[in-house]
């Protein structure tokens, strides 16, 4: 059993940087990673904007030292890169020295290859290698292989946009229960025609920069990313005299039970998730210093989440902002990249600006943090809300 769930390493690759330091620089400098699609041949190129990672698959493969016969999806490539960064950051030289697991999240999985070779598989033997790379668990298995996690617990979670937050949650419970001494948690999702067209048919994509919590918001920008944290038990921290970046202090998941893709107007699921997380942390609402909101800039999400924040925090809402104007919505990876951003906020006592905001929503009298703010932070709460009514909240803290 472990009282604390310590974070000792982080890794990330997103549209605003190829590693933790670059992402942090973009966040504090207000540098958006949103642009037109360049790597996917879609008819919607001029109708949408995305948070696309600059590297091509070939460049990513070279970075990982993969041979040409590999069958990595882009999701697996991004995930492996971020996870390896996290292990390096945690100064782990022998991954199997302790019981170490991997819990990864993805919703796209190998769909980028499936959609590219869907009919080609039937004719071309050379592309058939990607068939086994389609299922969600495959990208996780490739990450495990890259990290050298052989026998231990390895699994994958897919609950749409809350997936990686849920991976952190499950990982934390595996540490607390003593099932594992150490676990790598996070998620990865690449852009694909499947998700671009899926979100397009739902009419929730913006044709310009997304504007979280703005009255005139008109949809989200999809993004791609991967991010991982290394979680370690008290035992490992003590034995290895580890530097701790922060703690996973609380977590909660709830289902909105309202609609398959839309959130309830009153934010039931998000309210319950935040309340559960605060309870698990043994905090009260007053203990939360900053909220990294899900804030996708869809009409529905920001209204629902805004109402939930009011229900939980009442009149004393902590500073909050969404970082999705920087990265786009990275789907399954969102909860993981925002976990990295939350820990960075804690480390540097920084609250990121909610970019692109102009007009307060008329439904309530709350405004996100609009400028970079220096503030002593002890806790950060991060929300991730997804399809199927899946609502998740994770609380990070400086102290155990």
């Amino acid at each position: 059993m472990s009282k604390g769930v310590a974070i000792t390493g982080m890794g990330i690759i997103s549209a605003i940087g190829n590693n933790v330091a670059e992402n942090y620089q973009s966040l504090i400098n207000g540098e958006k990673g949103i642009s037109r699609v360049s790597k996917i041949d879609t008819i919607h190129k001029d109708a949408i904007m995305v948070g696309e990672i600059a590297s091509t698959n070939l460049e990513l493969e070279q970075q990982l030292g993969l041979t040409p016969d590999n069958n990595y999806s882009r999701t697996a490539l991004l995930g492996a890169i971020a996870a390896k960064q996290a292990i390096q950051d945690a100064r782990i030289s022998d991954i199997n020295a302790y019981k170490t697991g991997l819990v990864s999240a993805t919703s796209v999985g190998g769909m980028d290859m499936t959609e590219a070779y869907y009919y080609d598989y039937l004719e071309n033997k050379n592309t058939q290698k990607y068939i086994e790379g389609h299922h969600a668990g495959d990208s996780t298995q490739k990450i495990a292989e890259q990290l050298g996690i052989k026998k231990s617990l390895v699994t994958t979670i897919s609950t749409a946009c809350s997936s990686a937050a849920n991976a952190i949650m499950f990982g934390a419970r595996l540490i607390k229960s003593g099932k594992l001494d150490r676990v790598v948690v996070g998620g990865a999702d690449c852009l694909s025609k499947f998700t671009i067209n899926g979100f397009k048919t739902l009419m929730i994509l913006s044709d310009t920069y997304n504007t979280p919590f703005d009255e005139n918001r008109k949809g989200l920008n999809l993004g791609e990313a991967a991010a991982f944290l290394v979680l370690e038990s008290d035992k490992v921290i003590a034995a290895e005299k580890k530097e701790v970046l922060g703690y996973v202090k609380g977590y909660g998941n709830a289902n909105d039970a309202y609609h398959q893709t839309a959130s309830s107007e009153n934010g039931d699921g998000a309210t319950l998730a935040m309340q559960k997380a605060i309870k698990v942390a043994a905090y009260t609402a007053k203990d939360i210093d900053y909220i990294n909101a899900h804030g996708t800039a869809t009409g529905n999400n920001d209204l629902s989440e805004g109402r939930a924040i009011l229900r939980v925090f009442g009149e004393e809402i902590p500073d909050f902002s969404s970082t999705k104007a920087y990265t786009g919505h990275t789907l399954a990876a969102a909860g993981a990249i925002e976990a990295v951003y939350a820990v960075l906020a804690l480390q540097h006592n920084i609250i990121y600006p909610n970019l692109n905001f102009k007009t307060q929503m008329k439904e309530f009298d709350i405004t996100p943090q609009l400028e970079l703010k220096e503030k002593e932070l002890h806790t950060v709460l991060s929300n991730s809300l997804g399809f199927g009514g899946n609502c998740s909240t994770v609380i990070f803290s400086k102290e155990q």
Binding site: I43, Q128, I131, H135, T159, R173, K179, K193, N253, A254
Partner: protein, 354 residues
């Protein structure tokens, strides 16, 4: 630590398993390499309009969960945790092919919405109006085991009292076609009753939904106690035996304590060797049970194995059709399950009679 009990089951498979008053009484045999579920009358469980609208995998999952809840004599749960290897394949295929065939035009959202992996869990929550914890694990052949492990952790630590868990996977035509290309599926039509003696590669692909109510509250009608679950990313053939011994030792058990071992043999000559490590050596003297000749291979087929073991422990009956060997065992107290798929994603599960 609270004990964890299986208090209700619901199964939709290639056998008539949806009727909990029966236990493999009438066996459906197939001569094919892809087999489908025996459908209950879905309209008995969900409104006819909903039954028509729902995709197959969702329907299977929703109805199997209803059966499990009814079996457990409860109306709602604290959490819903599902496992699925591939998610809702039919709708994924429908949407991908529409994107390609229509050059990204004239698309509608329905099949996209229904394609997400956690659609089944979300639909069950909607139907029950359950606002509790809701997770979906999607890790090939340990998707269901991950769900069971998650539930066990929560119940043992009193984070929940009653949880609905399940494994669901459905067929998709294109998915079947491409998996035939890479030899995952038997090249020839095979008689299901003889598949375990097969000398060829590949499995008979199946589909199914198996749901369970797990709870800290033991009832007279409970099926089994969940003692332990362990999953392994990879194990070599020679490592399987050692892992089994360690798993038992960690639970203060020896091989002699195991009344039956439930093995996931699927007739793939290349990978059944992992099971042979146990059945020909370590568990040579143990009653051996198989099930994939009945339900086919799918990523959450092990949930059918757990259904089978649970029924055996509750009824103390062992249908002949699932015997791999014949031992003079008259009482089932402890059952060990082992599963893997193509040499990866191994799991051991321990169940005990209540």
């Amino acid at each position: 630590m609270s004990a964890v009990y299986i208090t209700g089951v619901g199964s939709i498979s290639s056998q008539k398993t949806f009727d909990n008053t029966e236990f493999l009484k009438e066996i459906f045999t197939y001569t094919d390499n892809v087999i489908s579920v025996v459908n209950p009358n879905y309209k008995e469980y969900i409104p006819p309009a909903a039954a028509r609208r729902m995709a197959k995998g969702i329907k299977m999952g929703v109805v199997a969960s209803r059966i499990a809840l009814k079996d457990a004599n409860i109306e709602n749960v604290d959490a819903i945790i599902t496992g699925t290897g591939m998610g809702c394949v039919r709708d994924s295929e429908k949407f991908v092919s529409a994107i390609i065939d229509n050059n990204e035009q004239y698309l509608t959202p329905t099949s996209f919405i229904q394609s997400t992996h956690n659609t089944v869990g979300g639909q069950i929550a909607l139907g029950l109006q359950c606002k509790g914890y809701n997770f979906t694990y999607v890790h090939a052949s340990v998707s269901f085991e991950s769900a069971l492990l998650d539930a066990q952790l929560q119940l043992e630590n009193n984070e929940a009292d009653t949880i609905l868990i399940g494994g669901v996977d459905e067929h998709g035509d294109h998915t079947i076609t491409i998996h035939k290309l890479i030899n995952h599926i038997k090249p020839e039509k095979t008689e299901s009753t003889k598949v375990l003696d097969s000398k060829t590669e590949g499995a008979i692909f199946g589909e199914g939904a198996n749901f369970f109510v797990v709870s800290t509250k033991k009832q007279d009608s409970s099926y089994a106690e969940v003692i332990a679950i362990q999953t392994y990313n990879t194990l070599s053939e020679t490592e399987v035996s050692h892992a089994a011994q360690l798993f038992l030792k960690d639970n203060d058990l020896t091989i002699d304590d195991i009344d039956a071992i439930v093995l996931g043999n699927n007739g793939d000559v290349k990978y059944d060797t992992f099971y042979n490590e146990l059945s020909l050596n370590l568990f040579k003297e143990t009653q051996q049970i198989c099930y994939k000749h009945l339900c086919g291979e799918f990523n959450t087929a092990s949930s059918f194995g757990v259904w089978l073991a649970s029924k055996i422990l509750k009824t103390q009956e062992l249908p002949d059709v699932v015997r791999l060997n014949k031992k003079s065992i008259s009482n089932f107290t402890t059952i060990l399950l082992y599963n893997q798929y193509r040499g990866e994603n191994h799991s051991f599960t321990l169940l005990r009679k209540c």
